[in-house]
């Protein structure tokens, strides 16, 4: 088991003929992901290293039976690409595009909720999702993810930051701990999938025994997650929040990473998570150490 994706997930890449789409799409395929097609308007009928390219998502879905899409197009085109995928019946969309205006993101999110409630959007501005050994959609380097191990305890990862997602995968690999699924939800103000969506799935996933959560300053997603954990998550968790020393009022690289009006501080988020019984590390390595302790205690 894994969450959101598995070995049967069939993926198309919107923007497969572009630099990013081609590079990561082919890497995902090389990892073993079923990359069944690409979409670039005007380039239908061509192929990228044997992967057929279509003019529209609906044509690609009709021809390949794809149920997931990987969107790697520029910020101007991404909102329309997301809605096109949803309209074509795609159930799971991963959008790695960074730099989409917040107004567009808010509109797309609420349009999905209203018109395509069965479609899940991961991102934008996220590294994607990997279920080690089964499916990798996005830009994560597959080799840094430890395979889940039968008969042992495996960990689910959910993170707002790309490089810290890799860091978390790496910390677990160093300790030989398997990963069920690793989800990067992205650092934008309106993520399609949030911590709670992932925590709910991990709680219900029989292959996931414990969860690492990586948050950062800005917004209140971690505080809301803490409330959810208190009420619904029984699996043990460790966490790390980036940005303890970030100055207020400055966007720290990610559009959503900003402390404003005294809200969204790392300390507030750590306190909330500790209050929900999560073991919170002061850096990614400590979060990894805490997870190793959790796994050891699970036996």
């Amino acid at each position: 088991m894994a969450i959101f994706v598995n070995k049967d997930t069939k993926v198309i890449v919107q923007g497969l003929t572009g630099g990013q789409g081609k590079y990561h799409g082919l890497r995902n395929q090389a990892y073993g992901t079923q990359v069944v097609g690409g979409v670039t308007p005007g380039k239908g009928g061509t192929d990228v290293e044997g992967i057929p390219v279509f003019d529209s998502v609906s044509q690609a879905v009709a021809a390949t039976g794809a149920d997931a899409s990987f969107i790697a197009v520029p910020p101007k085109a991404a909102p329309a690409a997301i809605l096109e995928a949803a309209a074509a019946g795609i159930r799971f969309i991963v959008c790695i595009t960074e730099g989409i205006p917040a107004q567009d993101e808010a509109k797309v999110f609420n349009t999905l909720v209203r018109d395509y409630p069965k479609t899940r959007l991961l991102g934008p501005n996220c590294p994607g999702i990997i279920s080690p050994g089964k499916c990798n959609i996005g830009i994560t380097a597959g080799e840094i993810a430890e395979l889940p191990q039968a008969g042992k305890k495996n960990v689910g990862i959910v993170s707002r930051s790309g490089t810290l997602t890799y860091q978390a995968l790496y910390e677990l690999k160093q300790r030989g701990i398997g990963v069920s699924t690793c989800v990067g939800i992205g650092g934008d103000p309106v993520p399609g999938t949030n911590f709670i969506d992932c925590l709910r799935e991990f709680q219900n996933d029989p292959e996931t025994d414990a969860i690492i959560m990586i948050g950062e300053i800005g917004g209140s997603a971690e505080e809301e997650a803490a409330e959810f954990i208190k009420a619904h998550v029984t699996k043990p968790m460790s966490a790390y929040i980036a940005g303890v020393t970030a100055p207020a009022g400055k966007k720290m690289g990610h559009a959503g990473a900003i402390v404003s009006g005294g809200k969204g501080t790392a300390q507030g988020k750590m306190d909330a998570l500790r209050g929900a019984g999560v073991k919170v590390g002061n850096n990614p390595t400590e979060a990894g150490d805490l997870m190793a302790e959790i796994i050891a205690a699970l036996g």
């Binding site: 917040a102 490089t163 103000p189 303890v244 970030a246 966007k251 690289g253």
Partner: protein, 383 residues
């Protein structure tokens, strides 16, 4: 990007939001010209992006040209909490009957737009929220539907805006919402929104934060960018297209990825150091990017050690190493580097660094983030 008040008012005017007659000035003579054109009495207001300018003497009323000259002369060049006033906004002084508050933001939790409206304006909204939370009404707006004139009218009534001002306030709410959405604002705030004895409602102040991600469809923002308050290091970083934020510490930071860069600041702090900056070099750390990053760090006189923290995901270790070696041949550093290189092809990268014959006084390699942070902080603190 935060706008100055005068820019915010100019931005409001694009969306037909009524503001006082006035203009911006950077010299006393200009200020006088604007004052004459606006009609006395005028208010001379310091343009700085920091609160409390009124208390600091940065807002003055002038009833004639002589007073306007005096105030403009005093305020231009004034230091308000470390911000030197380079520009004043001069406008016709308004008679005020009442002061309200209105703002639009994105409520990230609810994923909807949020209108906050209060009949108690003129003071900070946080103060109102604390003293009398019921005096603020909060209305969530679905971005797909937008704000209808009827909903704006109801909001004004709900906020207990007096009957004679409801129509005027509702009209401005719709205009301000258009400014917020079509104008791609993160924040569009009017405080105070005033009712004049004549019955007119208008914006006496303007606080606007623009969404940098939307700059591609707003060529008119270029002029705002030119006046942004950046320190010299941030200016240099911008010319290189780097994601850089200047801080006050002594350990220069270079990392790939925003999260890792934030985390690097935290770890340096935890082991007793202080970061000089936030710098995210992003995915493909080419030699050019690395050289530019080192140049910006090198420019900062406070920096006494440099911590390069790279986790190779997409970025490959050997590329980073080649970038550093090449960068070192172009830039003469004033402080030594401590590097932690991990992830994809990290070993190849470390080998390239080791084989490059760089002396240990210039570059030290450490296997983990914590060890590297300790080494960088020890050097920086002179231990």
């Amino acid at each position: 990007m935060d706008l100055f008040e005068y820019q915010g008012k100019q931005y409001f005017a694009r969306f037909d939001i009524p503001v006082s007659r006035g203009g911006a000035a950077t010299t006393v003579d200009e200020a006088l010209k604007v004052a004459d054109a606006s009609g006395y009495p005028v208010v001379v207001k310091a343009q700085v992006q920091v609160g409390g300018r009124g208390k600091a003497g940065g807002i003055k009323l002038a009833s004639n040209a002589e007073e306007a000259r005096l105030h403009a002369n005093n305020i231009l060049g004034m230091d308000i909490k470390g911000h030197v006033v380079k520009c004043v906004w001069v406008e016709n002084a308004s008679d005020i009957d009442e002061e309200y508050y209105a703002s639009f933001t994105l409520d990230r939790g609810a994923k909807k737009h949020l209108l906050m409206l209060s009949a108690q304006g003129g003071i900070e909204i946080e103060v109102v929220a604390e003293k009398d939370p019921d005096a603020i009404i909060k209305l969530h707006i679905d971005p797909v539907d937008g704000l209808s004139p009827a909903a704006a009218h109801k909001a004004a009534v709900d906020a207990k805006i007096p009957a004679q001002a409801v129509a005027g306030v509702a009209k401005i709410l719709v205009q301000l919402y258009r400014c917020f959405t079509e104008g791609d604002c993160d924040l569009a705030e009017i405080n105070p929104l005033i009712l004049k004895p004549t019955g007119e409602v208008h914006a006496l102040d303007a606080k606007v934060t623009l969404d940098d991600n939307a700059a591609f469809r707003h060529p008119e923002w270029d002029e705002y960018r030119a006046t942004e308050e950046l320190d010299a290091r941030e200016q240099l970083a911008r010319t290189h297209g780097l994601q850089y934020i200047g801080l006050d510490g002594t350990v220069g930071i270079i990392a790939n990825g925003a999260g890792l860069a934030m985390s690097t600041l935290d770890v340096v702090n935890q082991v007793g150091g202080t970061a000089a900056n936030f710098l995210d070099i992003g995915g493909g750390a080419s030699a050019d990017v690395m050289a530019a990053a080192l140049e910006v760090i090198n420019f900062d006189e406070k920096v006494t050690s440099i911590f390069i923290n790279i986790f190779g995901g997409i970025t490959r270790g050997e590329e980073v190493a080649k970038g550093i070696v090449e960068a070192l041949s172009r830039v003469t550093l004033k402080a030594p580097i401590v590097i932690r290189l991990d992830g994809t092809n990290a070993e190849e990268g470390r080998k390239i660094l080791a084989d490059a014959g760089i002396p240990e006084s210039t570059l030290i390699s450490k296997p983990t983030m914590l060890e590297a942070a300790r080494a960088a902080v020890a050097i920086s603190n002179g231990k």
